[in-house]
């Protein structure tokens, strides 16, 4: 009996002591924290990282020269597993970085988790802050709080191999129908190449087809969305990109394929230029906007891009702000454009590079034609992390489900995640 009481007592104590840990993020040190010490920075890894790393290295050197007794530790994290890494950082402030690069689609999720610091004061103090357009600022604002500085914009367009097109007497496609027939011609004439490299896991290549047809992510089971998805999955077929090889391709893999000369066309971003120039396709390609179904139209592109932010747990927010504004400033945005093809977000920088470089013309035209975005909802992170859209595309591409079945299933999951 005594023993039983003791056990009950221990359990009772345990119940209160063993509740799952919840980290309450400490608020920013009001004085801006220490002005020296080590600043931890997380940037995204890239298919071809060396040029990015070189620019960042210069920025770090400039920063440490003007800030005595500081060290900057830069880590490059894999994009595929960023969700887990960021959650780990939110939950364990001790190992979290100070400055982070993050995808603009992740903003609502990180904001809801309370992981990012308010950058309003930092940006209003920043001399170049005024150069940031209202639209750019709005894209990094969640429920009235500015949680990031847009670092670069990324839109995708159609890269094609000029040498192959010339050899086969082809013209850059001006509609989705032409894109499909051109791709089939290339595959037919050159069986060891894919017409256009498309992948089952490459959501941002598939969505323009859906948007062009008048569909959207939040209404995947509509007739328009289904028509758009059909247009995309028709490309994952033996006469262009066989499901055996293409059903599980990610966007990064299609970049590798196009850069490596294994594909006649690819739906790649402006930020993939460095990777393509490092491959066999160097100097033998040109870019046009991804066409829509109406001849001459442009399919709405996904307005991708990355922001720089400061973690709410950072112990050196003032120092982090200094580094962030240096890296996001015109000088390094321009350098990042030269290194990676990243489209600058500062107005003066973007007009400057667009005027200088004809490569940007199709991307600027794509942006001008109107872009689309994923739902601004904390639940989007869950949709993304549980691979709802890739699963839908893969099911159709491998013939495991019809377009109607796959879209109905995905729409249900998305509605559940977005709490509709």
């Amino acid at each position: 009996m005594k023993l039983r009481l003791a056990v009950a007592a221990v359990l009772a104590v345990g119940l209160s002591a063993c509740a799952p840990s919840t980290s309450s993020p400490s608020s920013l040190p009001s004085d801006g924290g220490a002005r020296s010490g080590t600043l931890k920075v997380w940037l995204f890894d890239e298919p071809n990282r060396a040029p990015k790393e070189a620019v960042v290295k210069d920025a770090v050197a400039e920063f440490t020269a003007s800030h005595p007794d500081t060290k900057v530790e830069v880590a490059y994290i894999a994009v595929d597993t960023r969700s887990e890494r960021f959650k780990g950082a939110f939950n364990d402030p001790a190992s979290a970085p100070d400055v982070v690069e993050y995808g603009n689609t992740d903003l609502p999720e990180y904001a809801a988790a309370g992981g990012l610091a308010d950058l309003g004061p930092t940006v209003s103090r920043w001399a170049e802050g005024a150069d940031l357009g209202a639209e750019a600022k709005a894209s990094a604002t969640y429920q009235g709080t500015l949680l990031g500085v847009p670092w670069f914009l990324g839109v995708r367009a159609l890269y094609y191999r000029t040498d192959i097109f010339q050899e086969l007497g082809l013209k850059p496609p001006a509609s989705i129908a032409e894109l499909t027939s051109t791709a089939r011609t290339i595959r037919q004439k050159k069986p060891d190449m894919f017409g256009v490299a498309v992948g089952g896991k490459y959501t941002y290549a598939a969505m323009p087809f859906v948007w062009d047809a008048g569909g959207d992510i939040t209404s995947l089971d509509s007739a328009q969305s289904r028509a758009g998805l059909t247009a995309y999955t028709n490309l994952i077929a033996p006469d262009n990109c066989p499901p055996q090889q293409c059903a599980d391709l990610t966007g990064g893999k299609t970049v590798d394929l196009f850069a490596g000369g294994k594909a006649g066309m690819g739906i790649l971003g402006n930020f993939n230029r460095a990777a393509v120039d490092a491959g066999a396709a160097k100097g033998k390609y040109a870019v046009v906007p991804l066409p829509g179904s109406k001849p001459g139209s442009i399919a709405p592109a996904f307005a991708g891009g990355n922001n720089l932010g400061i973690m709410r747990n950072s112990q050196r927010p003032a120092l982090a702000g200094d580094f962030l504004t240096l890296l996001a400033g015109k000088k390094y945005q321009t350098r990042m454009y030269e290194a990676m093809g990243n489209l600058p977000t500062l107005k003066s920088a973007s007009t400057e590079v667009a005027a200088k470089d004809p490569f940007l013309k199709p991307f600027v035209a794509t942006i001008a034609a109107g872009t689309k975005f994923v739902p601004l909802d904390p639940g989007w992170g869950k949709v993304d992390a549980s691979a709802v859209l890739p699963t839908m595309i893969e099911k159709v591409a491998t013939g495991r489900a019809t377009v109607d079945q796959a879209t109905a299933e995905a729409a249900k999951q998305i509605d559940a995640a977005l709490g509709k």
């Binding site: 799952p20 980290s23 939110f90 939950n91 988790a113 309370g114 055996q244 059903a247 599980d248 691979a387």
Partner: protein
């Protein structure tokens, strides 16, 4: 031991074992009871990313995570796949391990040494690197296997069953050495006279294995079977690395990888914990049933 136990007075002897067990109990408590308690607790809470970072209050849900789980057709298909995959892996691991253990007792020193070294190497390779190397070998475009077999462009991960078979082969490759070494040691310990008597009575290798070795090795076999069931049911690394987190359209998901996706990628820690609890219970039941049948068949363990 007995001399120590008889020396102190009667009452002290009753308490001594408890004191001696205390350090172990503390270690076990910290390493097992506390995490299991946390797992069970999380599985009845509404505990998502927002709750972890303190953005929203934690709510008690009762069995809601479990009802959600059992109501999800995905869970049942993943569970079926996991059980079938684990069963196939256990059977294959035991067959390969036992076959090679018998082989080890019959070959001369140099081949025996080579076989042992090869097995040890497979055992020692960390599962992430092992899986990655196998991935390279079976790569669609550049893999050695496809080049040798002339299967250029054949994607081993495309079909659900070839993908499972390939991952299964890697799992077996990683785990057969343990079975082989354990059974080899057991076979070596069987008295020569018994085996000789069997041979004189005209028993062949097959018959000797089933009628002499297996009954004598029953306790050892019980250990390797249970170990294999636990390992193969919980397999994570090979699936996660080789099928890139569950294969095309999630066709190669197993419970462990799915729980990881739910908990860490989607931030549904409560639901992930519920999957963990279900897995633990299944393993517990399987292990108990297996031990019971062994006991029933007459051999004390």
């Amino acid at each position: 031991m007995t001399t120590v136990a008889t020396a102190p007075p009667r009452r002290r002897r009753g308490l001594t074992p408890l004191w001696l067990l205390l350090p172990t109990a503390v270690v076990l408590g910290v390493l097992f009871v506390y995490p299991m308690w946390q797992l069970g607790l999380l599985s009845v809470l509404d505990f998502r990313q927002a709750q972890v970072s303190g953005g929203q209050p934690t709510r008690f849900l009762g069995a809601e995570n479990y009802t959600r789980l059992f109501g999800d057709p995905r869970f049942w298909s993943v569970l079926t796949a996991t059980v079938a995959f684990a069963a196939a892996c256990v059977a294959a691991t035991l067959a390969v391990g036992a076959g090679l253990a018998v082989l080890l007792t019959r070959i001369s020193r140099v081949p025996r040494l080579l076989l042992s070294l090869a097995a040890m190497a497979a055992w020692a390779v960390p599962s992430v690197s092992g899986s990655t190397v196998w991935m390279f070998l079976f790569d669609t475009d550049l893999g050695l296997v496809n080049q040798v077999l002339g299967l250029d462009g054949y994607n081993w991960m495309y079909d659900r069953y070839t993908a499972f078979a390939l991952v299964g082969a890697v799992v077996v490759w990683h785990s057969f050495p343990f079975v082989m070494v354990t059974l080899y040691a057991g076979i070596e310990a069987i008295p020569r006279s018994v085996l000789e008597a069997a041979a004189i009575d005209g028993s062949g290798a097959w018959r000797t294995f089933w009628r002499i070795m297996v009954p004598i090795l029953r306790p050892l076999i019980a250990i390797v079977v249970i170990q294999s069931i636990i390992w193969d049911f919980k397999v994570f690394t090979q699936i996660y690395v080789m099928t890139r987190g569950g294969g095309i359209a999630g066709q190669n998901l197993t419970l462990n990888v799915w729980a990881y996706q739910q908990a860490f990628a989607s931030g549904e820690y409560g639901l992930g914990a519920a999957i963990g609890v279900v897995m633990m219970l299944i393993l517990l039941v399987v292990t108990l049933l297996y031990l019971r049948t062994l006991r029933r068949s007459g051999e004390p363990l």
